[in-house]
Amino acid sequence: MSTLAVHDHGIVHHEEGHEHHHKQTFLNTYVFSQDHKMIAKQFLITGITMAFIGMCLSLLFRIQLAYPDKAFPLLETLLGRFAPGGRLSPDFYMSLVTIHGTIMVFFVLTAGLSGTFANLLIPLQIGARDMASPFVNMLSYWFFLMASLVMVSSFLVQKGPASGGWTIYPPLSALPKAMPGSGEGMTLWLISMVLFIASSLMGGINYISTILNMRTKGMDLWKMPLTIWALFLTAVLGVLAFPVLVAGVVLLIFDRSFGTSFYLSDIVLNGQVQPFEGGSPILFQHLFWFLGHPEVYIIIMPAMGLSSEILAVNSRKPIFGYHAMVYSLIGISVLSFIVWGHHMFVTGMNPFLGGVFMITTLIIAVPSAVKTFNWLATLWRGNIRFTPGMLFAIGMVSFFISGGLTGIFLGNAALDINLHDTYFVVAHFHLVMGSAAIFGMLAGVYHWFPKMFRRMMDERLGYLHFWITFIGAYLVFFPMHFMGLDGVPRRYYAFTEFESMKHWLTVNVFITWAAIMSGVAQVVFIANFIYSIFFGKKATQNPWNANTLEWTTPVEHLHGNWPGEIPTVYRWPYDYSKPGHEEDFIPQTVPYSQTMSSNSVHDFEDNPAGLEEYTKWAVANKVNEQVK
């Protein structure tokens, strides 16, 4: 499905390509392209396709949760043996939950988000002609596509896809007899994940080396837009954390296929004593969460970067506390490696260790709070232009606050005892990293659509899409907090077996309809997206009056981005509404010598020659004023 999408889109451009006398062939321009802009589009369209699949899976299990006693003959027609008699089987329910989580976390919010925007924005915003190694960059996409295909294809095996939860804790995932999904489905999951990690590493190494080595003249680190900072730190996290997951996955493959006992010990399955001895299931959890926790920051940091940029551009104000924003990103990145144990407070890990992880976890709330306050201060006294991208960025901040605050409960080991693995956790992470990250991604899609596809998306459909999705997401996830506080565990196939959970059935129906409503809103988005690619209003070169470098490239895409020389950068990217300048933005490529009336002493902190010129000018100017 995903290849098809890329393909279709390619054909049309191919035709246009002929009109503009492109010399490249169809194959190397649209399929095996090494141009970062095309690879970004490939990532985006594959990511959106995976997101759509992941969303449909969630709607399926939402229907089960809302109507546990009802048969839907349509489900049997569509799913066959996975929904006998029109009701999802408990094992398939687990598969849906597992694959929904895996797709959303890895394929949409890691590859779809970082892959798209790192590829698109890194060369364009730092002033490079392409990535450091375009060929490896292309491979990164193709490994990602293969991983996606293997993951989706696991629905075709007899016993169904992996079903041990997206965290695939052994022994459940290690013993093929423990549940149907732990057979071939799990094997495919592991293969897919190894491909995915290879893709992610190839991408990450590229992003880091491009940012460190290929910035244009004048673009020092403190002149980089926050998007680049966020994407850079995300790539660093990925390169350091993903290999640990490979280690974990390889040992799991050994346990599954070669009879080792890394994670297994003292097991009696279905009354039969198993030969495993000496392993520890907790070891896997350590390895998994050593990736798993940085992973949630790999997901949210690009969304933070994109939102920071969009909030500044559309508030027509500099981002508040640029340095604080960068330092808090760095703080989050460093801390994210020493908090993984908060996923394991009640797993049997030494309680003292739990206490230590609690301290580090709550420290990470400080940089997060700083970021939030800085976003709010950016809006304060702005001149806010409500583009759909801006609305999604505001929505991202709102979700980040709502979901982040519940993290203070879950990061507290003592409170986590009763909240661990309940719906409270589901509500928490769907708001703080699910909804917030997807809103960051959608904000990015609306904002940079003209750069990607040379046309604008329809704003009014964007507004509709935003409000339905935004309200829908709150209606879905807000009530879940209280289910969690009532001690309702997550990953339960039905609430009907427990008398105490039955009063939540009506709430489940409500949540499911809210989810369906949000799902329909995504159809609006897809329609708008596809329609705008072909028939949208033609974009101008700098449709948002933004300062960053990508808007200095011509609307027509060129391999190499800029015709002629790459522009030099003279100033930071956030000179919006600077007093003394008639326009409300000054692009990074405008030297201070051209904006004498708006310069301030602060602009020349490490530039004594410039400061001297400025003081001279200021004195002369004041003299003139006095003469008047």
């Binding site: 003959p73 094992d91 687990m94 279905n270 104000k317 702005g382 606050i401 003592a414 001690g487």
Partner: protein, 383 residues
């Protein structure tokens, strides 16, 4: 509005069909199904068409305004107003949810340590809710008050070190308090060191049930060895350990009120989790790694029935770690009783060492000197 009415109508129709046809798939059922699908497809189509028409009307209106020399639709204003409406509706909705759905959550803690947990929960809730309402109000309030206009220019404010220091230090200070408070509560709760007088109870999880083991008259539980597990000795109890001989099996987790209970938690096949939310208690059951949780129940089941005004109320033990297809239905009733009731009840429980097992093991002991050896041999034969 119209759309929601359609949707409601649709659900009713679909449900009516379900009720009428039952769950057996017949031909009429199939046609009813496709009718339902067609209905929804049509509904979507209608919605899409009305959306397009609405879009056209808006565009025509916008253009006609512009022709007349007016400004056209000011989306900045509209979105600013929607933001403030959302804020007000959101505050109302969140408050409603907090009160109505919040009151559906767990009753007061039925364990001694749970009181500390609940106190900390209350403190954290108050702090986070203040921040929640404040920051969301600022976010959407700013969005409304500073909605764009051509007449105005934004205020150039790149940074302000004083205010940044303030909003770094305040969260850091508040979190320090929570961390210190939480750290000591956690250390206190997690102290599962065995003390004389603790009632030790073994809880063993397997797909998909919990097994219980109570100590007999000696007050001590015997050793376990998973290799000894057979059909009759399903926990793998080592009966060479004299403490094992009087160990008791039970169906319900009955515990005396106000006594210190130490749960020894085991798993046989995959990870499970002992979750007793009324006691603010959770601990994973990990194969190969015995875990513990010590707590003091403070409210009997009978008393809780009165307090919750629910004569059928039962404390429950759920499985709270994904463990397979029937994970959702791994419950065990927990009953807190008075000390006398507990003595009566435990006197009636049967030992694990049944007569059948006794003869089996005696035989095994005669044949060879090591019981484990015999057990594994028998298992191999069974295969």
């Amino acid at each position: 509005m119209l759309l929601s009415m359609f949707l409601l109508l649709g659900t009713n129709m679909l449900m009516a069909q379900d009720a009428a046809t039952g769950t057996v798939a017949t031909d009429s059922d199939k046609s009813a199904m496709w009718l339902g699908v067609g209905y929804y497809a049509l509904l979507l189509l209608v919605a899409a068409v009305s959306l397009v028409i609405l879009g056209k009307i808006l565009r025509v209106y916008d253009l006609s305004q512009k022709i007349q020399g007016k400004k056209g639709i000011n989306w900045n204003n509209i979105m600013g107003f929607v933001c403030i409406i959302f804020l007000i509706a959101g505050i109302y909705g969140a408050t409603w949810s907090l009160t109505v759905q919040g009151s559906m959550s767990l009753p007061e803690s039925a364990s001694a340590h749970g009181v500390d947990t609940d106190n900390m929960f209350t403190v954290t809730s108050i702090l986070t809710l203040i921040v929640f309402f404040l920051t969301q109000s600022l976010l959407f309030g700013f969005a409304f008050f500073y909605r764009g206009s051509d007449k105005r220019k934004a205020h150039y404010l790149p940074h302000n070190n004083t205010i940044e220091k303030i909003w770094t230090i305040i969260p850091a200070a508040v979190l320090t308090v929570l961390v210190v408070f939480g750290f000591f509560t956690w250390q206190k709760i997690e102290n599962s060191t065995e003390v004389k007088g603790d009632i030790n109870i073994d809880v063993t999880g397997h797909q998909f049930a919990w097994e219980l083991r109570y100590p007999g008259k000696d007050g001590k539980l015997g050793a376990l060895d998973y290799k000894l597990t057979t059909g009759d000795n399903k926990l793998g109890i080592d009966f060479k350990d004299p403490r094992s001989l009087d160990d008791l099996q039970a169906d319900t987790l009955v515990i005396p009120v106000n006594k210190s209970i130490r749960l020894n938690i085991h798993a046989q096949d995959v990870i499970h989790s002992v979750y007793m939310p009324h006691f603010r208690l959770q601990q994973n059951a990990v194969p190969g790694l015995p875990t513990f949780f010590k707590f003091i129940p403070t409210i009997t089941t009978a008393e809780m029935r009165v307090r919750t005004d629910n004569p059928k109320f039962e404390y429950l033990l759920y499985c709270n770690k994904i463990c397979g297809g029937s994970h959702y239905n791994m419950q065990k009733v927990v009953r807190v009783v008075t000390a006398e009731e507990y003595q009566d009840w435990i006197a009636k429980q049967k030992p694990y060492l049944t007569d059948k097992l006794r003869t089996e093991l005696k035989l095994a002991a005669d044949k060879s000197t090591s019981a484990p050896q015999a057990a594994t041999n028998r298992l191999a034969l069974n295969n």
